[in-house]
Amino acid sequence: MDLAFSPEERAFREEVRAFIAERLPADIRRKVQAGDPLVKDDYARWHRILSERGWVAPSWPQQYGGTGWTPVQKHIFEEEISYGWAPRLLPFGLSMVAPVIIEFGNDEQRARYLPKIHTGEEFWCQGYSEPGSGSDLASLQTRAERNGDNYVINGTKTWITAAQWADWIFVLARTSQEPKKQDGISFILADMKTPGVTVRPIQTIDGGREINEVHLENVEVPVANRVGGEGQGWNIAKFLLEHERTGTAGIPGCRQQLEALYELLAHEHVDDRRLHERVAQVEIELEALAFTELRTLAAESAGKRPGPESSILKIKGTEIQQAISELALDALGPYAERHLAPKYFNYRKTSIYAGSNEIQKNIIAKRILKL
């Protein structure tokens, strides 16, 4: 057992750090550091810079433009992205639909979609949840009916981050009615410019406008846009959700926010002992979670696919993110209104998205404890 980074790994960290310091546009760094919202162009610029360097898709196989990094290198890269105040790229194309296309798609689909995801020329969004189907995703009602070489899609998808910027959406839709609700679902890609697609923004409690409702009304999409077999959508959805959960712990970001919190405590001369104890408690849990992530990373290095253990990272990581935003609010006391309160409100989403924390506990109970 040896937890030290190798000289090669340390050199890699230096290389990433130097690259970010040199190439990250200063205006983007300032926004990330200040916690200000980014616009599409910010994401696109940074995406292009990483794409040109060949560092945009660490989770892809090398033949499609992946980096060929070890799990430890990916981890180092993630850390440096946070420490260098670089934005985390939107995951919908790079780490959601692309792995699905690579795993379940055909060669034409790989050739058509992957290069433009790599360069950032095309932005994606995720059409999963519906007004009546949240945690019970398999109850979804959106239909895709066959009409010659096309599917005609009807339904409403909701809570869609970045739909207002997206060129493409991946949709889970029912292609047949089966006795079991998980059957008969397919995974279909739709161009957002197709007639019948409308995007309606949803304002969130923090005042933000990052999520949307997307209506699909007689949207005609070629059958060739289906990834995987007809009715295979549920398996694909599960594959994607497990991919989505790794990395949601957001540990490097938490470390930075915790440091900012300590600075805030010093700056505001907060000497409330109980508050300091609550912060220390969160710091300890963060250390414990960071080491837990390293253990999963080591398992991954030994060839294990990310499994249900990633649910721990999702639950605890989001709890810690929320706790830090809550402590920052409390630290600033009556002056928290303008900046920290919206962040605190916004972070309530973290325990809801990507499979609510209650659903994650179901997964732990069923898949790990075999209850």
Binding site: M1, I284, A288, R295, A298
Partner: protein, 366 residues
């Protein structure tokens, strides 16, 4: 980075696991421990020693799993670390061979885990020191031949090796809930020669703190083992136990509770390993203090939750003295508080965060 255990480490783990799974209640196991080399963990190689904090973790985790009641932490990890740091090779050799056993008498009434609050005084009288004072809650003194006693020599604290049956030493034993041997020790004008001094005169506190940190790390590992068994027993039980015509483990309220126990267990596992790594690598006392206190605070918190929920989910049978889970719960409750509870270690963690390291650079944050 590499998390795999070496073949030697796997060997220890397996042999301790076999012992811990067997019938180990009562009986004298010390000669067996000596023979198997378990008393030599962490000792220098020329004494037949091997391994370090990670090997101690592997052993103590299995002791926890099997709820082995043993003076190992007090007499090998705590005392052994002190003897090693004090460079008392001849005493360490006797410890490793199982020839002599040591208990550490450091805490005093009302000191609340603080090793620096020492009223016991050692006053020089010619060639000898005369020690007088009271030590509280000394762990495993009955089977010890020698007590390592902290006493004030002027403003500083010095450690003395005092035979347990020396004139003026009295043990007031009391029954601990978890089957361990604990006593208050009264020292009344106990005379100790210069060779009784361990380490430098006035250098006792640093030795004690090092020993305490190693012993605390070992307790974290024991807590990890205790929690593992409690969760396993609870999951098994809720699969068997039928109410309302179904296994109670099928109820979501209980499933989520067990998922939470699992998360706490995994966080505790991470911190127990992190503690072992810190002890193995960290030379700077401030960074070591910070790492160990973080670990103990986490293990105490996780252990309390897992223990209380294990009893709750077992229902009435969890309250029964006949059933094993209650015994694990009781030991866990002691492990939580031994050598400092969650509140104590949280405060120590905060203090270490604020302190500059003794090497002159700030304590690392990440």
């Amino acid at each position: 980075m590499d998390f795999t255990l070496s073949p030697e480490q796997l060997l220890i783990k397996d042999s301790v696991a076999r012992f811990a799974a067997g019938d180990h209640a009562g009986g004298e196991h010390w000669p067996t421990f000596a023979e198997l080399g378990w008393l030599a963990i962490g000792a220098p190689e020329d004494l037949g020693g091997f391994g370090g904090p990670l090997e101690t973790l592997l052993l103590m985790e299995q002791f926890g799993r099997g709820r082995v009641v043993s003076p190992y932490v007090a007499q090998v990890v705590f005392a052994g670390t002190i003897l090693r740091a004090a460079e008392r090779t001849e005493l360490l050799q006797r410890l490793v061979e199982g020839e002599e056993r040591f208990a550490v008498a450091y805490e005093e009434p009302h000191a609340r885990y603080d090793a620096s609050r020492v009223a016991t005084a050692a006053v020089r009288d010619g060639d000898v020191y005369v020690i007088t004072g009271t030590k509280a809650r000394v762990l495993d003194p009955s089977t010890a031949d020698t007590l390592i006693v902290s006493a004030r020599t002027g403003d500083e604290i010095t450690l003395f090796a005092v035979p347990r049956d020396a004139q003026g030493v009295t043990l007031a034993k009391y029954d601990a809930e978890d089957g361990h041997d604990v006593a208050n020790v009264r020292l009344e004008s106990v005379r100790a020669g210069a060779s009784a001094i361990l380490g430098p005169l006035g250098g006792g506190l640093a030795l004690l703190e090092l020993g305490l940190d190693h012993a605390t790390g070992a307790l974290c590992a024991e807590g990890l083992g205790l929690m593992s068994t409690m969760l396993e027993a609870t999951v098994e039980y809720t699969k068997q136990r039928q109410q309302f015509g179904v296994p109670i483990g099928s109820f979501q309220a209980l499933q989520h509770r067990m998922a939470e126990m699992f998360i706490e267990l995994e966080l505790a596992r991470s911190m127990a390993y992190l503690a072992a790594m810190t002890l193995g690598e960290e030379q700077d006392p401030v960074a070591r203090r910070r790492g160990i206190s973080a670990a103990k605070a986490q293990i105490a918190k996780s252990g309390r939750f897992v223990g209380q929920q294990a009893i709750q989910l077992h229902g009435g049978i969890g309250m029964s003295e006949e059933y094993k889970v209650g015994h694990y719960f009781k030991r866990m409750t002691h492990v939580e508080r031994l050598l400092g509870d969650a509140d104590f270690h949280l405060a120590r963690f905060i203090a270490a965060r604020g302190a500059k390291s003794e090497a002159g650079t700030p304590a690392p944050v990440g």
